[in-house]
């Protein structure tokens, strides 16, 4: 029996397949305007790639459109992305107790217990501060790609201070520094540091227990990751998979745990 998970975010969608307790395949795409279509597309492509019929897979959905996918009969059940990130990370490394997941529009700090169950969580308030969108806005203002933005932390000599919490006002600060001819590296490093500070404030609300891992698209930004490790005083555990698939993996694990014995 195969078990699948889909996770649709604001920018990307993922699908993961599990068979005999191991990952047999995964896929990550840019989202379509409709989250239900995104989930169907990414899982459809993955199933085609591994040559499996959808009828042979028990799928759990998470992320945007997760309920609709169950109503459509595409997924058997849905679970919140918070529980899915927790379960996915714990399955990959049972020493994990805290997961920091930063996506396009959401930032979450998830605490799990010794059984991988959700113990507590906190998500960003109704604001883009501390999400991937914040980085996108600042990267655009700086004329950098997201990858370039991340690398600037390691090239900067004197990162600037970005004090505004609002993404738009932070962009105003970035533009101000650019007009005053501050080195781009220092401005970009300041952006990465300010992003890390926003996550730090969030994490303090539920506390950070070791071991800690970073998931979601922003986990691929080396600069933010470095700054966050520094400010939290931890070294993130590498889960050994693409950090963007942990939510979809968690959904597949929930499917396996519930229907694996049948």
């Amino acid at each position: 029996m195969l078990f699948g998970g889909t996770d649709v975010g604001s920018l990307t969608a993922q699908a993961v397949l599990l068979e005999d307790g191991r990952i047999t395949g995964y896929r990550n795409i840019r989202v379509l305007p409709n989250p239900v279509e995104s989930a169907k597309k990414v899982m459809g492509e993955l199933l085609e790639e591994v040559g499996v019929s959808p009828d042979d897979v028990v799928i759990f959905s998470t992320g945007y459109g997760r309920e609709k996918l169950v109503e459509d009969g595409f997924a058997k059940e849905h679970v919140s992305e918070i529980s899915c990130h927790g379960r996915g990370a714990f399955w990959l490394n049972p020493a994990i107790r805290t997961i920091i997941d930063i996506g396009g529009q959401d930032a979450k700090v998830i605490r799990i217990d010794g059984n991988g169950n959700l113990a507590n969580f906190v998500m960003n308030d109704k604001c883009a501060a501390g999400t991937g969108r914040f980085l996108e806005i600042q990267a655009r203002a700086l004329g950098l790609t997201l990858d370039e933005l991340g690398e600037m932390t390691f090239k900067a000599s004197n990162p600037v201070a970005i004090t505004a919490r609002c993404s738009i006002y932070a962009e105003t600060e970035v533009l101000h520094y650019m007009q005053r001819k501050f080195p781009k590296e220092d401005i970009a490093a300041g952006v990465n540091r300010s992003m890390a500070e926003r996550i730090y404030y969030l994490a303090r609300r539920v506390g950070v227990e070791r071991e800690v891992t970073l998931t979601g698209g922003v986990a691929k930004n080396r600069g933010v990751k470095h700054e966050l490790e520094k400010i939290l005083g931890v070294k993130f555990v590498d889960l050994g998979v693409d950090p963007q698939i942990v939510g979809a993996l968690g959904a597949a694990i929930f499917a396996m745990e519930k229907y694996g014995g049948e």
Partner: protein
């Protein structure tokens, strides 16, 4: 059918009973705070009608007066005043609830210039001095009503209506207890009941409440939750949360249990001093009151214990200074005491925001293992 009538009243502003009240030549005065002593108004057949957003998310005109950085409930209420939905009011009583409400009433004054707008000064502290001050303020409110509406308010009549309020408060507690251990009503029903109380003459409401209490339901849920935080009259939001299985069995909010649970019963003392103590002490449930954090925390805890809840949702509208700040502290303290907490920041009546809220509630239920 009384419960459906209550829901109907809660979903409209000028309901049929208000129309009848006005057609009989009686006045209706709007207000926005539970510090308003209902019995003083009702003693001369002035209906105190509490302002609410009634689920209105369109704030396009109000946003020209206030800003997007103001509380969306206040902007919603201002919009309803500006678009004429509150034109049935014969005047307003304003209280400095918070700066957002203050600004809202300033803009109402500026844009509509109502004939009667009384500034009812409610202290932020409860002590001997402020109780004496507040007792005098209630007398000033009475005089303002007398001057504006050409009536005379006697102490005997105020006492009579204080006893009516006592009866309603006791009945409300009885109704709330039907939601605690083995819930027989939804939280959306309870919010509708509180909203209806704030929109009806007391005698009418009491009759409706008594018959609604006989309409017990079979209630499905995964977890029992207490709702706390800023003023919330969004019945549709509560319904959505409850559809997910998080049954609201108690609230400490001022559109919920906080509006009556701690109200003292009339003890025969001097009526203005009694009302000052009754309303100011009850107002400790609001984060505008200084030095009463422990009261609010203990109120939440004691109600959580009595209602046997699985967790607490602390909610506030974005830019709500009072509850936005207090909820951070409450979250830490309640969690420390072993009560699971979900903090929800939201915009008033925003249907586009429901997905974000549902994700958090679903995860909270999963955390509660329900």
């Amino acid at each position: 059918m009384s419960l459906s009538k209550i829901h109907e009243i809660a979903s409209t502003l000028e309901n049929e009973y208000v129309e009848k009240w006005r057609s009989e030549g009686n006045a209706v005065v709007g207000h926005a705070c539970i510090a308003m002593p209902k019995e003083v108004a009702e003693a001369v057949r002035i209906l105190p009608f509490r302002l609410r957003g009634a689920g209105n998310a369109d704030t396009s005109t109000a946003d020209s007066y206030l800003s997007r950085y103001n509380c969306s409930l206040c902007r919603s209420c201002l919009e309803l005043v500006l678009n004429g939905s509150y034109d049935f009011l014969d005047g307003l009583v304003r209280v400095r609830g918070c700066d957002h409400w203050m600004g809202t009433f300033d803009e109402v004054q500026h844009a509509k210039n109502p004939e009667f707008m009384h500034y009812f000064k409610v202290p932020h502290l409860v002590n001997g001095d402020t109780l004496e001050f507040f007792s005098n303020e209630i007398k000033r409110l009475k005089e303002a009503f007398e001057n504006r509406f050409g009536v005379e308010i006697t102490e005997d009549e105020i006492v009579r209506y204080a006893k009516v309020q006592d009866e309603i408060n006791e009945k409300m507690r009885e109704f709330y207890r039907l939601r605690f251990k083995k819930p027989r009503f939804y939280g959306s029903d309870a919010i509708a009941v509180v909203v209806a109380r704030e929109s009806l003459p007391s005698e009418v409401f009491l009759q409706l409440l008594e018959s609604a209490m006989a309409e017990k339901k079979k209630v499905d849920f995964r977890a029992k939750v207490l709702l706390a935080g800023s003023p919330l009259d969004e019945i549709e939001l509560i319904r959505k949360i409850e559809e997910m299985g998080a049954l609201i069995v108690a609230e400490t909010t001022c559109f919920g249990g906080g509006s009556f649970w701690n109200m003292a019963e009339y003890d025969g003392s001097e009526i203005y001093d009694f009302l000052a103590a009754k309303y100011l002490n009850n107002l400790k449930i609001c984060a505008r009151m200084f030095g009463e954090y422990a009261f609010r925390k203990n109120f939440i805890k004691s109600m959580a214990v009595e209602a046997e809840v699985d967790g607490v949702i602390l909610q506030h509208n974005k830019f709500c200074d009072l509850f936005g700040i207090e909820n951070a502290k409450l979250r830490m303290d309640l969690e420390k005491d072993g009560i699971p907490v979900l903090v929800l920041e939201k915009e008033y009546a925003s249907t586009a925001d429901i997905g974000r809220i549902k994700t958090r509630v679903q995860a909270f239920l999963e955390r509660l293992k329900r």
